[in-house]
């Protein structure tokens, strides 16, 4: 079994984005049960987000000149990037609830949806935050009325005279019950129930009665004049939905390779609680099997987790939104722009030759951007000629990390630092790494060791 410290480290990455050096110093001595409690307490106390983004009024847009319209749309897109960078900053902040942000990241990938306007993106994120640790039934019903989702999956065009099946299909295939538990006929009937679920020009949900099909539907063996909420209820009344969601949660929080015994226990609990998400997550975190060796250090960090994690460890502050957007895009996970409605596939799919090289070089780029002035120049060769990377402006505060094990001799410092930063012991010894460190002062020696440890493939997993 893992030591309590290792359990806390594991939980901090799976239920969040790792710990800041200050948090680590304190929390590593707790019992892991109190740390679980702490995660949920913080989630309950999390601040509400406000949606102060202006509505992109389509009527107003129509009246603008082409140049004005272009500029307005451009500004709106920039706001989506701000929203994105702010979210990543929250994930990285020790003041915020890591668990809540991690749940939101999970659900954003689950209800994958491309949002192009800041108002709609922000609105959707607020809906996700509201339900992320709440009740899944209420969550699905809220997402079915989410304007960004309605537009993304063409429910705007789902009318009685000509139903558009896009939303109904994805609702079942990806959001709730999964393939194999419904027929093509069920999709057609469900699509009818969601006809008229639309949005107005201001970007609010609107039920268009004249486009809604009030007739009887025959869905999953039941007959009735169902509307969208009825359809969702019928789907969630089936236990297969609890199993499908439990599998997805297991893959995201526990292990890519399913253990059906655990999944089935999760699904029982989830179903019996009528889809209480917080209850399910707490159950996982308090289970012994969550801390089994096979589940530790075997997850490849997603790009956003990697970025938020190293921002947290290094107390990184970016001057603008560019670095967050650049890293997300280059590594294949831009928030609010998932690749398709199935979300990010994850796991080894994050890794190919080009994304791996950027991941390994990333910390060196940040150190260089922060002008830490090391004599490890070769690490920055790539940067000199890469315009995008040159544009990164960052501040790093290394002091908490350097004081993590204060006053220790080098070997102990190396071991303590590795225990904090890496999921497993590094293959390289301090002696082997030393020639690649800045020897000009003790502080620089230690700072460059931080950089090297965070450049190891071992840093890519949690």
């Amino acid at each position: 079994m893992l030591s309590t410290q290792d359990k806390i480290k594991h939980l901090s990455w799976r239920g969040g984005f790792g710990l800041s050096p200050k948090e680590w110093k304190e929390i590593k001595n707790w019992s892991f049960e109190s740390y679980v409690q702490h995660l949920f307490t913080k989630a309950n106390r999390a601040k509400h987000l406000s949606n102060d983004y202006a509505e992109r009024n389509r009527e107003a847009l129509k009246k603008m000149s082409p140049e004005e319209r272009k500029r307005a749309i451009k500004e709106d897109r920039a706001l989506v990037r701000t929203l994105n960078a702010e979210w990543v900053t929250r994930m990285a902040s020790a003041e915020e609830s890591a668990l809540l942000e991690k749940m939101c990241l999970f659900w954003h990938g689950h209800f994958a949806c491309v949002s192009k306007s800041a108002k709609l993106a922000s609105k959707q994120l607020i809906t996700i935050r509201t339900h992320a640790l709440g009740n899944f039934r209420a969550f699905v019903q809220a997402m079915a009325k989410d304007v960004s989702m309605i537009r993304f999956l063409n429910n705007q065009q789902n009318k009685k005279s000509q139903p558009n099946e896009n939303f109904a299909r994805e609702l079942m295939e990806l959001f709730t019950i999964g393939r194999g538990h419904y027929t093509e006929r069920d999709i057609k009937e469900a699509a009818r129930a969601f006809t008229g679920w639309s949005s107005d020009l201001k970007g609010d949900f609107k039920f268009r009665r004249r486009q809604h099909d009030f007739e009887n539907k025959s869905f999953m063996g039941k007959e009735g004049a169902f509307n969208g909420d009825d359809i969702i209820n019928i789907i969630l009344d089936r236990k297969e939905t609890a199993v499908f969601i439990s599998r997805k949660i297991y893959r995201f929080f526990v292990n890519e390779t399913l253990d059906e015994k655990r999944v089935s226990a999760m699904a029982d609990r989830f179903y019996q609680s009528d889809y209480d998400i917080a209850d399910l997550i707490r159950y996982i975190f308090l289970s012994d099997w969550f801390y089994e060796r096979k589940n530790v250090g075997t997850q490849i960090k997603s790009p956003v987790v990697l970025l938020a994690g190293l921002m947290r460890s290094l107390e990184v502050q970016f001057e603008d939104t560019f670095p967050v957007l650049f890293v997300e895009k280059a590594l294949g996970q831009t928030l609010f722009i998932p690749p398709n409605v199935a979300g990010w596939p994850g796991g080894k799919n994050w890794i190919d030759n080009s994304t791996l090289m950027l991941r390994l070089n990333l910390v060196a780029y940040l150190f260089n951007a922060a002008d830490l002035n090391f004599k490890v120049k070769e690490a920055f060769e790539a940067q000199k000629r890469n315009k995008a990377i040159r544009k990164i402006k960052a501040k790093i505060n290394l002091n908490p990390l350097l004081n993590l094990p204060s006053g220790l001799q080098r070997q102990l410092f190396f071991e303590e630092l590795s225990a904090f930063l890496l999921a497993s012991k590094p293959e390289l010894s301090l002696k082997e790494i030393a020639p690649y460190l800045d020897q000009s002062s003790e502080k620089k020696f230690r700072a460059s060791l931080v950089m090297r440890l965070m450049s190891l493939p071992e840093y890519q997993v949690c």
């Binding site: 299909r169 490849i300 080894k348 799919n349 080009s354 060769e381 450049s455």
Partner: protein, 396 residues
């Protein structure tokens, strides 16, 4: 709505690299190490291109009845035969067709078609049946089977930031790169070379990270050298897709050891307001391909290059209420090369009188096209890669 890239099944993810059951016990011995010197370029139109509005049945009343606002008027169609013609946006490719260097296959699909993008794309990528879930791609398995002596991942190269499932095998995978210079910069690093020496006893997925890192370092050096050999002087359209094709042309001209190139153009998921979007995309596609083919011809490479263009499915015959089309089934597929045995239309036009709930029925299983390419172009045994029962066609 844009679905820009498609689900790559969490293939390989479990670490239990599954070998499709039909390959078990299959004798791979006779299958090693042939290189016909021929190159293959695969172009993927992501999102489900509307084939009926690309190759238009301009004599067909049913087509016009089903698409009151979307049909391309007969007088605008670029006629290729008595009944079929190009969308006007495809004009740049007309000379290629006229010169007998393009073969259009109609009604390509598979039994029990799946209308989900990712699932259908996975089916195309893995060459599986509709209810069969494979974790390796057909090109990946080609690398596994045929290329066991060839250790370099750049044998198959995808011009993208990430690698498609089609290119992932059980033991070998293709290589993803958006451009050789940028790639090279990221690997030139002494510390990374030190790490590479420590790739010993890791468990999955860490071992996978180490292996990928080491492969990348060696491939980057090679591709960078090759990319400097030849600069195309031809002018290509100013689009990312055309730039990718230009990169392919340059590598081909430099006689790079890469045999298979993979490139995508996305945005074809036209549920609403199709006309504008599709016109733009088809034009991008056709103009870039025309420049690419011209480049290949000038370097005497077109005879040894085969270009296959596909999309994961076609779209419904009837348009929807939003001036778009919903996910459909069978679709057309294009093969281009300087040396086709049979050009023009390979088979009959879609039969709009014989539909399956409003969708086209397939006439050619796409795995027969793969079998054709594997056997007749890459000269390898297709059975070990896509299984038995897929007879090769005769256009190459």
């Amino acid at each position: 709505m844009k679905r820009r890239r498609f689900l790559k099944a969490s293939a390989l993810a479990s670490g239990s690299l599954m070998i499709p059951s039909f390959l078990k016990g299959y004798d791979l011995a006779g299958n090693i190490g042939n290189n016909s010197g021929r190159k293959l370029v695969i172009v993927q139109l992501s999102g489900g291109n509307d084939g009926l509005n690309t190759i238009i049945p301009f004599q067909n009343d049913i087509y016009y009845k089903n698409r009151p606002s979307l049909a391309i008027p007969a007088n605008k169609v670029l006629r290729l035969s008595d009944e079929l013609g190009f969308n006007p946006a495809m004009e740049a490719l007309r000379p290629v067709f006229d010169q007998g260097q393009m073969c259009i296959l109609n009604n390509v699909g598979y039994p029990n078609p799946d209308r989900s993008h990712f699932r259908s794309m996975d089916i195309w990528h893995t060459a599986s049946g509709s209810k069969q879930y494979l974790q390796t791609g057909w090109i990946g398995r080609y690398l596994d089977n045929n290329c066991r002596t060839c250790d370099m991942p750049y044998h198959a190269l995808e011009l993208d930031d990430s690698l498609s499932l089609a290119m992932k095998g059980a033991k070998k995978s293709g290589f993803a790169m958006s451009n050789p210079k940028a790639l090279k910069r990221t690997t030139d690093n002494r510390f990374l070379k030190l790490i590479a020496q420590k790739s010993g006893a890791h468990t999955d997925p860490l071992s996978y990270l180490y292996k990928t890192m080491i492969d990348t370092q060696s491939s980057a050096d090679y591709l960078y050298e090759k990319s400097k050999v030849h600069r195309s002087r031809l002018s290509y359209p100013n689009t990312p897709f055309a730039k990718d094709l230009k990169q392919v042309a340059e590598l081909l001209t430099a006689d790079t050891a890469t045999q298979i190139y993979y490139i995508s153009l996305s945005g074809f998921d036209t549920h609403a307001f199709q006309q504008r979007t599709q016109t733009k995309l088809l034009q991008k596609y056709a103009e870039a391909m025309a420049a690419f083919i011209k480049d290949l011809r000038q370097n005497n490479l077109f005879d040894d290059t085969l270009i296959m263009t596909f999309s994961e499915f076609g779209r419904r015959v009837q348009q929807n209420a939003s001036n778009g089309t919903d996910h459909g089934t069978a679709n057309n597929l294009y093969l281009m090369s300087g040396k086709l045995r049979r050009a023009g239309f390979y088979n009959e036009a879609p039969n709009l009188l014989d539909l399956d709930k409003g969708d086209l029925k397939y006439g050619i299983d796409f795995r027969r096209v793969y079998a054709t390419i594997l056997e007749r172009w890459l000269e390898t045994d297709a059975k070990g890669i896509i299984g038995v029962g897929f007879e090769a066609l005769k256009m190459i």
